[in-house]
Symmetry: C2
Subunit: 152 residues, 2 copies
């Protein structure tokens, strides 16, 4: 794996905020020439530090005004169950995140839907696909922070 130095971090910090910044500008900001930047970025891509460049959309504008967290407990702890759960959540586009947790909570799901009716559809589809003993949901009233930027 590539050793990431301070200059890499500075470059990544900028790219995390805005991937469409020209190499000239980026170089000027971090104090490097255009192709020194370019070489580092390419190396970071090849080593897998950079996962990709994506376009971020406004959920509100797309009619996805409601974020919901779904807390799941299950009595079934076979690997088979996890497999089914993983396939189900990955196949449902409303589900943005799914996590197996420590503690007494077993699984946590983060999803985006239009409204409460949309949540209900998601909920029904989910329990139809995977057996769950205890499901409780909590709606996001206010999104205080939401970022894709990792701490560097």
């Amino acid at each position: 794996m590539r050793t990431i130095d301070d200059m890499d971090r500075r470059i990544l910090a900028h790219l995390q905020k805005d991937a469409s910044i020209p190499l000239d500008d980026l170089g000027a900001r971090v104090g490097l020439s255009r192709n020194a930047c370019w070489r580092r970025i390419k190396a970071l891509e090849e080593s897998g530090v950079i996962r990709g460049r994506v376009t971020l959309l406004d959920p509100e504008a797309l009619g996805l005004g409601l974020t919901v967290f779904i807390f799941v407990r299950t009595s079934r702890h076979e690997p088979d169950w996890l497999d089914k759960f993983a396939r189900a959540t990955r196949a449902m586009p409303e589900i943005l995140g799914a996590y197996r947790m420590s503690g007494d909570l077993d699984y946590l799901i983060r999803a985006r839907v239009a409204d409460v009716a949309g949540y209900d559809r998601l909920y029904r589809a989910l329990i139809r696909k995977v057996e769950m003993s205890d499901v409780s949901s909590s709606f996001v009233m206010e999104e205080i922070k939401e970022t894709t930027e990792l701490p560097l």
Copy 2:
């Protein structure tokens, strides 16, 4: 606000996955000329549907192997407290998401840290900044799904 039709959705679906796709390829995939694609994208940017283009990084490669969810209850419900909480979470780069919730849970925080020691530092920094009556955390054992793609 702009009305988003089916063609817009198809374009956005591709851009959400990969922002660096050439306009020619994008046009071929959705069945539109490069020019038509370009015009739509520009309109979607100006109307705010497209928020921006960012680079996604690999947390593991950056030594951020641990995702943690922090559940917060507070006895203080003045707008002043929320203000302080919002400023604190926004200022802490380890915190990727912060939400005011419905139900008996008051606030939920999603964060990325290196390890349990890193979590402890974050926890201490947080309670030093904002008064909280009840904080409990749960660590992510397995990231089953994590995406920035919204359902279209």
